[in-house]
Each structure stands twice: as structure tokens, then as C-alpha cells.
């Protein structure tokens, strides 16, 4: 295909448009950090992406346009379709999936460059200097780890990978893989004419590292890991931006890299875990020790009795957890809440920072069900109020209301801020079965004298509670 514009004009126009793209991205992200302007923010960033993509067709000396359009149609079409149909509960793993694709794309850019270096005749002019080669290799490494790691994260949250694979000496093994990959990376830079095999080995090791790094991490910690890989992909994109001398990629990549790092820290803090702790110690490892002595017994109660208890309460605090979302019970629960409010019950929803699968995820899910904001309180706001509540209704939440986090120093969740549901006069726990929570830790709240267990699917139980509250007059 003929180039549409003279080379110099095209290059200048593209550079100018990339500056605009970077500006639109930053404005978009800024707008996204406030609920009022958030919607406009993503549209602004989207316009930037559209401009960047369209202008990139004008690059001088490009071919393969048919392939390019086909690839955009395939990748974009599948992503559009999957993004449209995915349930709000599954949002975290979709973010992981799309993020992994970005990392993979950055690695692919590096692969093209590195394979081109490998394919060059021995003795031919060196394609890239050591700095550019280093950046390409670094982007390849980080991008590959982000790609395979994000896919594992997706598989785990989607339930495709059930077990957290851990074996003795795992960290030593990971360290060996890191060292080997870095060594090969250095050899790529030094040799300038690497062989095909070495490049393939480099990518293979980096991809394996992403898998072995992510497999041992428990599902509860996954959001932090996804956020970390998000920052990784940003960095990889920036590095490949340097290789291609693409300002939009450099700026956008670094902005996401730094924003993502900060977001990762905020999330880890909300979960009271350090990043090193998340990455290097599997969650729930100490569960057997912590599960030790539980006093008391589990006391079941019928939904009809539980409904009456709430109907005559003055103050009810609902603690929703991911289990509620899995059962798609948020609509029924909101219906129950409205019924109680109409009866004059003071009712609020208490949201733990890590309720759901990701900080802020539960707010998205309740917003979907139509719960207004002024009924939703976060941990700091609501914790003092549990003492005056007649009923704390815990629906599908577990670790975030486990008093062990306050008392048992040996517990893996020790020190995590929890919702003080145990301080309420009565605690009702809706739970599917008698199993332990996501972290595998026994929940001492369930065994307290003032706790009653309502077993069953959250949606069904909520419907029965609605029935009982109505019957109570």
C-alpha cells in the first residue's frame, strides 16, 4: 500500500497526535478519580486511544495492513463481546485477562525485535545498541511475566484453577528461574547477535516464572497481584515505547506503572498485608495452627425465626460479602432491606475495604442492585455502631468479620481491620455450608453465644426472610 502522506509530514503529525493522546489519557485518569466525573474520564481516555490508533496507520514504511485490520477485528471483537456479557461479579478476573493481553502485546513487540536481531547474518551491522536492547529485553521479561501471571490469576478467580500449588523450595526455584532469565537477558544485550534458541529460552523462562510466581498465591490476595501485574504491564509498555521511540507508549506506560504501583500499595494496605508478604508467603499457610481451639458450637436457626428477629429490631447492619454476590442475592437483599426500612428499622450496609474480590468491588455490586450511597458505610464509619445494633446480618462474608484478626497473634489474618459484627446483640450468618472462608481459617464469630447460623443459598434465604418479615406484620 502507498503511504498516504510524505514521510516527514506523517511523522510530525503522528508525533503531535501522540502528545494529544498522552494528554487525553492523563485528563481521563484524573477525571476517573472522582465519582462525579468518572464516566466522562473513560470517554476522554477512549477518544485518546481512538486518535492514537487511527494515526498509527499513517506510519511511513508500513505494510501488512490486511493482517493488521484482521488482528484488530479479532482481538477487539472478542474483547468487546466478552466485556459486554461478563457479570459484575466476574469483573476482577476480566481486568486480569485484559491486563495480561497488554503484557503479552508488549512481549510480542520485544519478540519481533529480538528475533530480528537473532535472524541477522553474523557480522552484519548491529541492529540495536546495548541500551535499546536492554530496554527491549526488560520489557520482554516484565511483559511475559505479566502475561502468564495474569492468565493464572484469571484462571484462579474464574475457578479454572482450583488449587494453590505449593511445594518445598518453591521460592528457591523461583529465584533460580529469575537468575537464569536475567543471565540470558544480559547475554542477549552483550552478544548483540543472539541465537534463535537463546531468545526462545528467554521468553519460555519468563513465561514459566509468571506461572510459578502466581500459582502459590491464594485467591484472597489475587486483587493485589492483579494490580501489581497492571503496573508491570505499564512498565513493559513504556520500555517497548523506548524501543519504538513512541512517546504515547512511554508516557502512558510510565503513568500506569507509577499509578498502578501506588494502587497496589493502597490495596495491600487496605488488606493489612505488605506486598512482600503477598508475593512470598501463601495466604492460609498458618491456617492449621490458627484453626486450633474453637469454643462453643454452631447454632442453626430457621429463616422464619431469623426474619421475625429482624422485623422487630430497631437497628440492623447488613454485612455483605462475596458469597452474596456469587449467589446473585444482592437484589433480594436490597428488597429485604427496603422492607425493613419501610417498617421503621434503621438499616445500613457495612462494607469492608476488601469485601468482594477487590477494594471497591462490593460498591460496584451494590450499585448494580440499586442500593443508594447514603445507606452504605465503610469500616471506619460503621464499626462503633455495631455495639448498638440489634442484629448484624452477615451474608456470605467470612474472614472480614472473624474476631481472630483482633485476638490471635498466630493467625494469618491477625491485625487485619475487621467489621465488629461480633459486638452486635444478635448476629445472623447466612452461609451455604459449614466450610471455612476463602483463607481457610475457622471463623470464631460463628461459634459465639449470640450468633445464629442460617444455612442455605443466599438468594433463597433472602427470599424466605422477606416472606418471614412480611408475615411478621
Amino acid at each position: 500500500m502507498q503511504d498516504l502522506l510524505p514521510d516527514k509530514v506523517a511523522t510530525l503529525a503522528i508525533d503531535a497526535s501522540y502528545l494529544l493522546v498522552a494528554l487525553l489519557f492523563i485528563m481521563g485518569l484524573k477525571a476517573m478519580s472522582s465519582p462525579v466525573t468518572a464516566r466522562r474520564g473513560i470517554v476522554v481516555a477512549g477518544i485518546g486511544m481512538l486518535i492514537g490508533t487511527l494515526m498509527s496507520f499513517l506510519y511511513p514504511g508500513m505494510g501488512n495492513f490486511a493482517l493488521m485490520l484482521a488482528a484488530i477485528a479479532v482481538g477487539g471483537g472478542l474483547a468487546w463481546w466478552s466485556g459486554r456479557i461478563v457479570a459484575m461479579t466476574d469483573m476482577p478476573q476480566m481486568i486480569a485477562l485484559y491486563n495480561g493481553m497488554g503484557g503479552g502485546a508488549a512481549a510480542a513487540i520485544a519478540a519481533v525485535e529480538l528475533f530480528r536481531m537473532a535472524a541477522a547474518e553474523p557480522g552484519a551491522a548491529v541492529l540495536h545498541g546495548p541500551v535499546v536492547t536492554s530496554l527491549a529485553a526488560a520489557g520482554a521479561f516484565i511483559g511475559s511475566v505479566s502475561f502468564s501471571g495474569s492468565l493464572v490469576a484469571f484462571g484462579k478467580l474464574q475457578g479454572l484453577i482450583k488449587r494453590s500449588l505449593r511445594f518445598r523450595g518453591q521460592q528457591v526455584a523461583n529465584l533460580l528461574i529469575v537468575s537464569a532469565t536475567l543471565a540470558i537477558g544480559v547475554s542477549l544485550v552483550v552478544s548483540a547477535h543472539p541465537t534463535m534458541q537463546v531468545v526462545v529460552l528467554f521468553f519460555a523462562l519468563a513465561l514459566v516464572l509468571g506461572i510459578t510466581m502466581t500459582l502459590p498465591i491464594g485467591g484472597a490476595d489475587m486483587p493485589v497481584v492483579i494490580s501489581l501485574y497492571n503496573a508491570f504491564t505499564g512498565l513493559a509498555v513504556a520500555f517497548e515505547g523506548f524501543v519504538l521511540e513512541n512517546a504515547a507508549m512511554i508516557i502512558a506506560g510510565i503513568v500506569v506503572g507509577s499509578a498502578g504501583t501506588l494502587l497496589t500499595q493502597l490495596m495491600a494496605k487496605a488488606m493489612n498485608r505488605s506486598l512482600g508478604n503477598v508475593l512470598f508467603s501463601g495466604f492460609g499457610e498458618g491456617a492449621a495452627v490458627a484453626g486450633g481451639q474453637v469454643q462453643g458450637s454452631l447454632k442453626p436457626i430457621e429463616p422464619s425465626d431469623a426474619g421475625v428477629m429482624m422485623a422487630f429490631a430497631q437497628k440492623v447492619i447488613v454485612v455483605p460479602g462475596y458469597g452474596m454476590a456469587v449467589a446473585q442475592a444482592q437484589h433480594k437483599v436490597w428488597e429485604l432491606a427496603q422492607l425493613l426500612i419501610d417498617k421503621g428499622v434503621m438499616l445500613r450496609f457495612a462494607i469492608h475495604p476488601v469485601a468482594g474480590r477487590m477494594p471497591g468491588h462490593m460498591n460496584v455490586l451494590l450499585a448494580e442492585a440499586g442500593v443508594p450511597y447514603d445507606l452504605i458505610a465503610d469500616l471506619d464509619e460503621i464499626n462503633a455502631e455495631f455495639e448498638t445494633a440489634d442484629v448484624a446480618l452477615v451474608i456470605g462474608a467470612n474472614d472480614v468479620v472473624n474476631p481472630v484478626a483482633r485476638t490471635d497473634k498466630g493467625s494469618p489474618i491477625y491485625g487485619m481491620p475487621i467489621l465488629n459484627a461480633d459486638k452486635a446483640k444478635n448476629v445472623l450468618v447466612i452461609k451455604r455450608g459449614q466450610g471455612a472462608g476463602f483463607s481457610g481459617i475457622e471463623n470464631h464469630l460463628f461459634y459465639l453465644d449470640n450468633t445464629r447460623m442460617v444455612y442455605g443459598d443466599a438468594q433463597k434465604v433472602a427470599a424466605e426472610l422477606i416472606h418471614a418479615v412480611k408475615a411478621a406484620g
Binding site: 485518569l29 508488549a106 519481533v112 517497548e240 502512558a252 510510565i254 506503572g257 450499585a367 443508594p372
Partner: protein, 100 residues
């Protein structure tokens, strides 16, 4: 690109990213992560250039995969972020109408 200028760009961009995120309420963490995930979808343009300049079949295959993945990142990131943020707006309106 000049080394020193490149370092300037990195520094300023890193500062910008930090500043933009620093005061975000927890309720927006999930959409914002999704939004920043969308922004690095700009990797699509790099993959397009890599494919556009590919000569050998091997380069073309890798470039093709790169563009598929990049387009997936950009489009998927946009769709899910927009869906989430749309809901936030609706719920804000309801609050205004519903509260006494």
C-alpha cells in the same frame, strides 16, 4: 531519543501517575484499576508498528498475535470500565432523588 530527555519524560510521567491516583476513594479502586488497565492498551499502536514493519513470516505471526492482544487490552479495558462507571452515575442520581 536523547537519554537525558527520556529520563525527564519518565520522571514527569511517574510523578503525574502518582499525583493522579493519590487521593482516590476506595469505592473507585476497582474501576480505576480497570481504567489504568485500559490506558496501557496504547500498546496496541506499538504492536501495529511491529506488525506493519514485519518482513518474515515469523515476525508477521508474532506481530499478528501482538495486535490481537493489544486490541483486546484496549477494547476490553474500555468496555468493562465504562460499564462499571455507568452504574456509579446511575446510583448517584438515585441517591439525589431518594434522600429526603
Amino acid at each position: 531519543m536523547e537519554g537525558v530527555i527520556a529520563i525527564y519524560i519518565v520522571m514527569l510521567a511517574a510523578f503525574t501517575g502518582y499525583e493522579v491516583i493519590a487521593r482516590v476513594p476506595v469505592i473507585l479502586h476497582t474501576p480505576l484499576m480497570s481504567g489504568s488497565n485500559f490506558v496501557h492498551g496504547i500498546v496496541l499502536v506499538g504492536a501495529m508498528v511491529a506488525l506493519g514493519r514485519a518482513d518474515t513470516p515469523l515476525e508477521q505471526v508474532i506481530g499478528f498475535v501482538g495486535v490481537v492482544l493489544g486490541a483486546g487490552n484496549a477494547v476490553g479495558g474500555y468496555v468493562v470500565t465504562e460499564r462499571m462507571l455507568q452504574m456509579f452515575k446511575a446510583s448517584g442520581q438515585k441517591k439525589n432523588k431518594g434522600s429526603p
